[in-house]
Symmetry: C2
Subunit: 642 residues, 2 copies
């Protein structure tokens, strides 16, 4: 093995994204989305559902009178916004924004109770019911997001106040929950605090936080399960889709080998399990995680990287049960999948994790936000017929157009924190080198063996499969560069300083490793074969039998009504159709020969025994992530092949 | 026009069914189902949901103490059973059964209040809430079914007691509801009494009953609508699928040109509208009914004759919205479609109505009952994957197997009354002759122009397309025989006494009319071309694009797992596949060349860009109506064409 097993993330501070394709979106988040979402949190977006998130803190702090409004987990919207805003400060210092965050941290501090407890829902609306509803109360979940925000703000600014607030809260939690007989043996219905505790442990070095995380994970799913006994579980008692598996509490986590229940909950749990497995080198846990990964990505994932195929319970269902029109595929769940993939990469250096990370990023996550950053999809179906989506009861979770905000607004700030921290996903670093996971234009700095290494990645990826990496080393020295070879690429060429590399090169688990002495001015040139092609689903995905999806590199394409007329299911792509990739103004698209069933040939009949006439047409497909940004209409990913 | 516009039903007493294909099912109903359902109504079926229907009447009559149990419309289960049992008495006198009915009529009488009111739910459970919930209370609906039962029993036995009971109730209703200012301007949320009132009018000649029917129909849908104001509408206020359109009360009925809302409600309304249009020769109403018929059968009907494509609200949705796996297609709705088609035939003598009547009968109605008569489908999907059906929330209305009884048991007795009165649907009669609507073996007697005419129809239809009709006339005389030419038949041959007919023959609106002097011993021989063929759906039915269904004559076929292995969606039928019809022991089936996607060729991957390997297989399809009578498993009507 060329690669060390100790793989670390790269500090966000050392990565500056300069990417053509994603750079604009990140800038959009920094310049537009973060201010927009701040307004949303302050109820200043006309027509959008009220957030009340800031106001809830003011009421909890006793600064204004009023009633709590929103979901029990409304605090987490603010937390994710702070986290996103903190990441944005790393690359784009903004005194005004920092001041806003300082003010809101003061507000959070004022809302904290004497004993460290903090949650505006329970403080304001249910002061006597704290820690009584672990199934749906989200107290530990909100704590987790606030911890993540505090860690991010500390890393961005070095300011400790928010971190101290959260340590006080965690100390309080740690004093009342845990394995000791005098504490409560409980955990949160919605996982999140577990991964946050590991982050907190890493910045504070306080092993109690790691222990508490380990406790929450190992306690989860022990039977009989306390969740089934508590009041908050009433929902689950009446509705089997909210049973223990909804909370990943149906089995001890080490016995869970299929992804069950609420998909965001599952992702956040698996993230924490992976962190813990790495931290404690727990081989049993690693084995479970590999099985879960296989189940999610080889049985229960849409081609877009969307997960969770049922709206009711926002959850996983069965192997191969992936309906396109009633998909849930929550934006947050795909973000969770990216978080998890990023951790799996560090646990088990295999390109397959980065392949999925890239897939979810370019498709089901980017689709969550409009191109102008002001509208969001919570749910990401793979087939939308607006009339059906707005009419049928079983489509009621489907929106045919993005909206400005949600009553349950978990997704918008989640996209923001994902994109503003994207630098963390481009590389991993081991003690003997650097691994390139994503091909995103950037300038970055590493320290390897005590030497500074600067990399500059220039690419028009994923519009082009060509990538140039320029090396700037302080002093020439030997280390390894691992270059992920995406599985979608049928061929690739790597050159060093314009020549084919012949020695010191090895391909292991999806990476091409170049181990050599690097000199200032060295240039790696990568050319990934990136043809537009048809992708087919396993025949067990019954909705996709006989259908194809169009994909090029990591990008999944879709048909839209605005380009192809209505009744998109009338279109099919012949087996030998010519598929042409094009690009205009930075916008990729595919042109493909297609045929269309001619409805007129049915003379208004509903059924007939004649063959349906077909006409030749040219279909145009655009990236799935970009659908719904023009005239509203139908959308289709899986197209019949004829 | 050879045919008179005055088309009448033929008295059930004069038709004896001797059919090979359906005769056994009718005998099953008479011998097994009626006694079985009597036990169900008396809560004597182990394991089946409690009916309590008889007991509710005992409690209402003060004969036993206890609480009402069941749906507010539980009385109608008994009513439909009496109706079915009455029809069975016509051909199979059964003193014991007649005595049972007499006893239950005594019980019904005892449960009637002084003023004529009768409804066990309101009498027992909500005595102070009578006539307060027209949306969901079903008082007039139950009255309607009891009227239908009373008319049937009167026609079967000549006994008037039940009829008198119901006249008293209707007189009470008529005294408090109607257009006059001192009465209430109301109608029932669930139509049924309207068609029953016309039946009652026809046996009693009491024009007040016709007027009341006319009032209920014309009042329906006037805006503002009283239903939206009443308590019972609360359900509708919170749930848009239960709004006024659910009750066909969103527009005055004469302005309704698309089928909306609860499909059984819609059918029963359209039945009454058709009866009324005929009775009052209302051309405006006739025109509306033709538009509604076109909308239902050319936009909103499954190939099986199933209607209502959404479980929530058991209702119609949008044109061409006909999903197969989450279809509702309630058995009762298809029975309602038959009732309506039968009336449309009398209003507008066109074979298209009988085509649909036949289609629904042989497919979506027969599928409602198991071959042994003891198990029922309420919902009739066109694609069932048991694991999905039992798991997914949006499939919760789908049963992968028939069950013994339902808490809401409208369907089982509805099938029973449909099949025991099937004789009514075979012929219509005009003043100048007889029209053959269905090719069902029978012996029958008519009076035409004062002369007795006996027909004997011998056929192995629909296994064979050959039909022999033997004529036995008292004295030779001239009249017309209309023979429906089913639209599914691409060719046919008619012979008279072994020779091609050359004169006095005309084809009008789907019938071949033979107008001549008929002599004793004349024999008509019909040969309908009945090849097994592929049927395609209008391309706007997006679920069926690129798919075919197998059909032969009126019978729709389906694939079952027990014959074809699992993952039925892996199968496809090549364009040029040979389709072979076979029959074994009276059971028709189709053998067809098919291909199967080989899952193994995916090596466990979820997505891949290779073409999926296919293997040649032979598929076997059985009648849709017979699915689910062997080893439980998958079922599929619409198959991919490749």
């Amino acid at each position: 093995m060329l690669i060390s097993t100790i793989i670390k993330a790269v500090d966000l501070k050392n990565i500056k994204i300069t990417d053509n394709y994603l750079g604009d979106r990140i800038k959009l988040v920094t310049d537009q989305v973060i201010p927009y979402q701040w307004k949303a949190l302050n109820d200043e977006i006309p027509g959008a559902p009220k957030s009340h998130s800031i106001e809830n803190f003011r009421i909890a702090a006793g600064q204004t009178a009023g009633e709590f409004h929103g979901m029990p987990f409304q605090d987490s919207d603010l937390a994710k916004w702070i986290e996103a805003a903190s990441y944005s400060l790393i690359h784009q210092p903004n005194k005004e924004l920092e001041q806003k965050i300082d003010n809101v941290i003061d507000l959070i501090s004022a809302a904290q109770l004497e004993n460290g407890y903090m949650n505006t829902y329970f403080t304001v609306a249910k002061p006597d019911s704290k820690w009584t509803d672990f199934s749906h109360g989200h107290e530990l979940y909100c704590a987790g997001h606030l911890i993540e925000a505090a860690v991010a703000y500390f890393e961005a600014t070095g300011k400790k106040k928010f971190l101290d607030i959260m340590c006080r809260f965690v100390d309080h939690i740690d004093s009342i929950m845990g394995p000791e007989p005098h504490k409560r043996q409980v955990y949160c219905g919605h996982e999140e605090i577990e991964l946050a505790l590991i982050k907190l442990y890493k910045v504070t070095n306080e092993r109690r936080y790691l222990k508490l995380c380990e406790y929450f994970i190992n306690e989860r799913g022990k039977q009989p399960c306390f969740l089934a006994e508590e009041n908050g579980f009433a929902l689950g008692a009446n509705d089997r889709w909210f049973h223990l598996d909804y909370h990943q509490a149906h089995l001890p986590v080490r016995e869970q080998v299929t992804a069950e229940g609420h998909s965001v909950r599952a992702m956040y749990l698996y993230c924490a399990m992976t962190d813990l497995a790495i931290e404690t080198n727990d081989e049993q846990l690693k084995d479970v995680l590999k099985k879960l990964w296989d189940n999610v990505t080889n049985r229960r994932m849409y081609i877009t990287g969307g997960i969770g195929s049922q709206g009711h319970g926002e959850r996983f269902t069965l192997d191969y049960d992936l309906p396109n029109d009633v998909a849930y595929a929550e934006t947050c769940a795909s973000i969770g999948l990216i978080f998890w993939a990023n951790r799996m990469l560090k646990m088990d250096p295999d390109g397959k994790y980065a392949d999925i990370l890239e897939l979810a990023l370019y498709n089901s996550v980017l689709s969550g936000m409009s191109l102008d950053g002001t509208k969001y999809f919570y749910v990401n179906p793979l087939e939308v017929f607006p009339e059906t989506a707005s009419y049928r009861h079983d489509h009621k979770h489907i929106a045919a157009q993005r909206v400005g905000w949600f009553g349950c607004a978990c997704c918008p700030p989640n996209i923001a924190r994902m994109l503003t921290s994207l630098g963390e996903y481009i590389y991993t670093q081991s003690n003997d080198g650097i691994q390139v996971q994503l091909y995103i234009g950037n300038e970055s700095e590493f320290t390897i063996g005590g030497n500074k290494v600067k990399l500059s990645m220039n690419t028009n990826y994923p519009i082009s499969g060509d990538v140039l990496i320029d090396m700037d080393v302080e002093t020439s020295h030997t280390f390894s560069i691992g270059l992920r070879i995406p599985t979608w690429s049928s061929d690739f060429k790597v050159m060093l300083n314009g020549e084919t590399i012949t020695t010191g090169v090895k391909i292991v688990n999806g990476y091409l490793y170049i181990n050599r002495q690097w000199d200032k001015g060295d240039q790696i040139s990568l050319q990934f074969e990136m043809e537009a092609k048809k992708v087919r689903a396993n025949p067990r995905v019954r909705e996709n039998a006989g259908k194809i999806a169009l994909k090029r590199g990591p990008i999944v394409f879709c048909l839209e009504e605005v380009d192809n007329g209505s009744w998109l299911t009338s279109l099919s792509i012949p087996k030998n159709a010519e598929i042409t990739f094009k690009e205009k103004g930075g916008k990729p698209f595919i042109q493909v020969e297609a045929t269309r069933l001619v409805e007129d040939s049915f003379y208004g009949n509903l059924y007939g025994s004649e063959e349906v006439e077909v006409e030749k047409v040219e279909a145009k497909a655009i990236p799935y992530s970009d659908w719904g940004n023009r005239t509203p209409g139908e959308m289709l990913v899986w197209i019949r092949e004829s």
